[in-house]
Every structure is written in structure tokens, then in C-alpha cells.
Point group: C2
Chain length 106, copies 2
């Protein structure tokens, strides 16, 4: 059984992933490094918003970044986070099976 302190640390890392834009950024970076501008182009959002999302992932230790000329290059530091998604898919499938598609509405 885990302590509340451990649970708190874990929850911060999970929370960092708990946003569609950040999940997509992780998904895009799983193939390899990408520049900020190429990531930014994938979203119909202000660049400051994208920058802040990437910062959240960086502070969680999931991404790293480095300057290269005028560009900022982002990199997935812990690729196993994409294994997460297999299980999330299992949850979604389990929901569909039980007709409990509550997460699809809203």
C-alpha cells in the first residue's frame, strides 16, 4: 500500500499527461525529436498556450528541450509513457463493452 506522499508525486506526473494537447504532443514526439514550431503547427492554439503545455510536460520530467539555432527542439525523455495508452485503450474498450460510454458524451 502506497503512502499519501507517494500518491501525490505520482499524481503530479499523471496530471501532467491529463490534457488532450499534452497527450498529442507525447504522441507526436514518440517517433523522435521535433521542433517547437512543427509541434505548434499541429494545434489551432496560440503559441504561448502550446509553449505552456510543453512546459508542464518538461516540469514533470516527461520531455526535455534544447536550443538549436533559432529553434527549440523537444524530446520525449521517458518513452514508456506511451505504454500508458495501451491501458487507457483497454479502459475505453471495457467501457464500450459494458455500454458505459459515459466518457464519450459531455
Amino acid at each position: 500500500m502506497i503512502t499519501f506522499e507517494e500518491a501525490e508525486i505520482r499524481s503530479r506526473i499523471i496530471k501532467a499527461m491529463a490534457h488532450p494537447v499534452r497527450l498529442m504532443a507525447i504522441d507526436l514526439l514518440k517517433e523522435g525529436e521535433k521542433s517547437f514550431s512543427s509541434l505548434n503547427d499541429m494545434f489551432d492554439l496560440d503559441k504561448s498556450t502550446v509553449s505552456k503545455h510543453l512546459l508542464v510536460l518538461k516540469e514533470a520530467g516527461i520531455l526535455s528541450s534544447r536550443k538549436e539555432g533559432a529553434d527549440m527542439i523537444y524530446r520525449l525523455e521517458v518513452p514508456c509513457v506511451t505504454d500508458f495508452f495501451g491501458c487507457v485503450t483497454a479502459v475505453i474498450e471495457s467501457n464500450v463493452k459494458r455500454q458505459q460510454v459515459c466518457l464519450c458524451k459531455r
Copy 2:
């Protein structure tokens, strides 16, 4: 590459796990079913607060519950979510290795 809609559905499930109390509840339930009151006893929180956290997990499809006499029994529906934690631990260890312990403060 995943769509924004897919990322949104995934993020709702991940968000459901992104709270220390809910992580602890999942951890407690991975050994088997538990009653509401035994879960509630683990937290120094109002029972209504605990009830609402369990509801969040239920709505995500991660837990289920059933009435048994006067008790409410909670059950982990998708045990693979605990595999999540292995990767989260990997992120934490990677952070420590890189002295990037930013998540431990705050």
C-alpha cells in the same frame, strides 16, 4: 498520430486517475474488492469527499460498485491501470537521475 477527439477521450480517463486519493483507492482495490467504509477509513477526509472521488473513477469506467446489504462494495474493473504505475515510477527515477526533482517540491 491520434486525433484531437481520441486524445480528449484518453485525457478524461487519465484525468480520473490524476489525484492522490484516487490513486490510493486504485492501489487499495488492486488486491480485491473493498467496502466503501473500509476505503473511507484510509483517508482523513469527509465521507462525501471520498464518495465523490470514487464516483469520478466509476464514471471513467475504472471502478464499479454494487450494493451488498447496508454496504457498498467497490471493485477495480480494469486492473491493468496499475501497470501505469510502473511507468510513473520510471519517470520519477529518471527525474532523480537527472537531478530534476522539480516534482518533489511545491
